[in-house]
Symmetry: C2
Subunit: 456 residues, 2 copies
């Protein structure tokens, strides 16, 4: 152990964990019996079960159903304390993290599990126009925007403006993009169908854009094809081989890679699901280390997830770029990867604290792929398991069981199951709430006579 | 019927209902078979079950559990449409309402059910420092503030600042004030007890202030006394005969009516439950009518709830000041009153549309008091029924049954029951979520060493 303070006092080693996502939780848990003081820092007071975040964004689940207060989770782990604070910088030399208000806390061991943020590839002015989906505020924001879009359409007398209000462009055909697109198509065609008097909700367009030649690139071709066909059956328009080149308040412009052709879509609602980059604090650490620029600002780590030259600092989850030394395989930035990395780092620290731990004897971290699941809509999903593939209702049930099983906390599992069953049988989404101070839909040309346009 | 437009065309009469609270909902429902076009305007897209709003503010229930989308509620009532819009003004002469964006809609019949807002008695600068509790945003705001207060306390090295963070002052000893005070005391003493490492949550102070000589003035003395004793047992400090004279960021000043003595309490958290006034649009209408200034800006209505000189305009709910012509009794500003007034106004309009309805033959509106309930805490409530009184667990069960029964929508009832049962048996509150962009607790003097202060 290389911590400077621990040489002069006999106090217990201090472990700071930055981030209470899937990775950070597993680190803290793995340290539950360690003779150490563990400090978990997160800028939120809750853990979010990210794979179901799109369900909050699409009004299916309440925020509380997919989240749990970090304090509550570690209430009975007496060696752990939780502070709600944002880490701005890590000083690797002085072994300290600096919080946003300037306070510094020293560590003997550090685990950076700070996750990722949407990657706008330099176009940071798109952030406001095309929100990403990484935390509960994002999800509530997207929910508000899509519900307001339908409210605006109801009071809009201008046909063109109504169509723009009802056009939803999802950028990125990975699992999140596919899930959001499928859910929005279902909402327009089923959930809201009978709620509006001035337009047919079927006119709503859901457009999914991806620069590749298929959706769900991480899945086997047969499953990706199935997902694409399912989405198209549900009414989603899919535009492949196209990149976004401009986003305005009422339009999105694409360029097709094949022929350079540009296309502009009238749309007020753009959702960004085109990829992520390491969170700012991790990118800062990466830059301070020098070395080559990496994909999404991720930090290249040693085979044992530590920083080169800093054997007491681990990086886990989306912020780590880890390649297995023997197989040459890169660990993907998914929940499973973060959890396994968190387990590994937590155990490595616990071992080192218990036995003085010889880091050089440590086995390299090795990612075990348990399979990938993506849900497309009601009773539709695809599952790529290590030795099998599934699609349709079977895959959807598997998805539901796995996700509800992993949902944090006993109560949330029951709540999620009940909310799911409700949604499944009644095509209804229970959380159609627009919240936020002074939020009102704004019609470009408000209908002069709401009574006159009824279909009676 | 006095509508100008209807004399020139043969179209169906148009009824505009302003506000989707308890009163407005009942009006629309009563018009379900009427040969009329009904337009419900509300600045929110949802109805809120206000009697349980404090449960959202105190992290017990999710916002969606106590609310329902207005569109969904009236989906199958084909003569009704819903627009999410804020009415700024009513032009009684031209029979039109004007929306915030300037659009005007004409009506043949108008029902003003616009509810009330917190009454700061002229001290409008207190609004930010002492939020009221009238809608979901208020509730989420109060929830955020009280959870942040505990977060701040955990990282606060300054003892005085920590105490100020943990002192909650509730202004107003009516049902809302009593409910919030009881819930906060329970949270501090039970729910959060094991979640913090740096302080004992029992040091939190919950102070309830009322200018009268008891809490729950609308209840019989024996029940009010019982409620006061219950609150005190739960650790709530009650200060009677005192008015707030100043509110700062870190303090509240009271003046006692008896001796003029002033007292300043160090407290960062003030919740305003000291009374309501009619919402701005109703106050505008009241002013345009002239007449004497009324209590809380409410509009004095005829015995049949219409405006003097405007037999096609009804006012129902909190915005109406209604006195029964024979008994001289004033209808109280409670949910029951609003519902009964809404039923009455809706039926009166339906009758008039069907039969040409002779307004002079109309029976005056008469309020039927079905009793009052207030909950104090886990298994503690008081119930003042027309021919009986109850307190303790029996009253609490009655409260739970009545409120869950009235909760809008089948699904919400089940969700609320499940969440209640959970809270009751596990002392746990499932919605301990701090949401809102860039929200972090701010310590006055942040602890220099979070590890050092553990009780180990």
């Amino acid at each position: 152990m290389s911590a400077s303070q621990s040489q002069t006092t006999s106090r217990r080693p201090r472990v700071i964990v930055v981030g209470g996502g899937f990775g950070g939780l597993r680190v803290v848990r793995a340290l539950r019996s360690a003779d150490a003081d563990v400090l978990l820092l997160d800028r939120r007071n809750h853990h979010v079960f990210q794979p179901m975040l799109y369900q909050v964004a699409t009004a299916a689940l309440s925020p509380a159903t997919i989240s749990a207060p970090l304090r509550k989770m570690f209430e009975s782990q007496r060696n752990c304390e939780v502070l709600m604070a944002e880490v701005e910088e890590v000083d690797l030399q002085r072994q300290a993290v600096r919080l946003r208000d300037g306070v510094e806390y020293g560590y003997d061991w550090l685990v950076l599990a700070a996750g990722s943020v949407p990657n706008y590839f330099g176009n940071n002015d798109w952030k406001k126009l095309a929100p990403g989906l990484k935390d509960l505020d994002d999800a509530i924001n997207i929910r508000r925007r899509f519900l307001l879009a339908f409210e605006q359409a109801e009071m809009e007398a201008d046909e063109q403006s109504r169509l723009e209000a009802l056009t939803f462009v999802i950028v990125g055909g990975g699992p999140t993009g596919v899930e959001v697109a499928g859910a929005l198509a279902e909402i327009a065609r089923h959930t809201l169908r009978r709620s509006f008097r001035h337009f047919d909700t079927n006119v709503a367009r859901v457009i999914l854009i991806d620069p590749g030649d298929n959706v769900l690139k991480a899945f086997p071709d047969a499953l990706a094809d199935r997902a694409r066909r399912d989405l198209e059956k549900m009414g989603v328009e899919i535009k492949l081989g196209a990149r976004v080149t401009a986003i305005g308040e009422h339009d999105v412009t694409l360029r097709y890679k094949a022929d350079g052709r540009e296309e502009t879509l009238g749309a007020n609602n753009v959702i960004w699901a085109a990829g992520v980059e390491a969170s700012p604090v991790a990118q800062n650490v990466g830059r301070s280390l020098g070395g080559e620029k990496t994909h999404g600002g991720r930090i290249p780590v040693q085979p044992d997830l530590t920083l080169p030259g800093h054997p007491n600092v681990f990086v886990v989850g989306d912020a780590a770029q880890h390649v297995h030394p023997e197989t040459g395989k890169e660990t993907p930035g998914v929940a499973q990867g973060a959890m396994q990395m968190g387990d590994y780092a937590g155990r490595a620290i616990a071992d080192a604290i218990r036995s003085g731990g010889d880091a050089s004897a440590r086995q390299p971290f090795s990612y075990l792929d348990k399979g990938s699941l993506a849900t497309i809509g009601r009773g539709r999903a695809v599952a790529a398991l290590p030795h099998a593939q599934a699609s349709g209702l079977g895959a959807w049930l598997l998805w539901a069981i796995v996700h509800i099983f992993y949902l944090v906390g006993f109560r949330n599992r029951i709540a999620a199951m009940a909310e799911y069953a409700w949604m499944y049988f009644f095509w209804e989404r229970g959380v159609r709430l627009i919240t936020g101070e002074n939020v009102l839909p704004k019609a470009i040309r408000p209908t002069p006579d709401p009574f006159a346009r009824k279909g009676q």
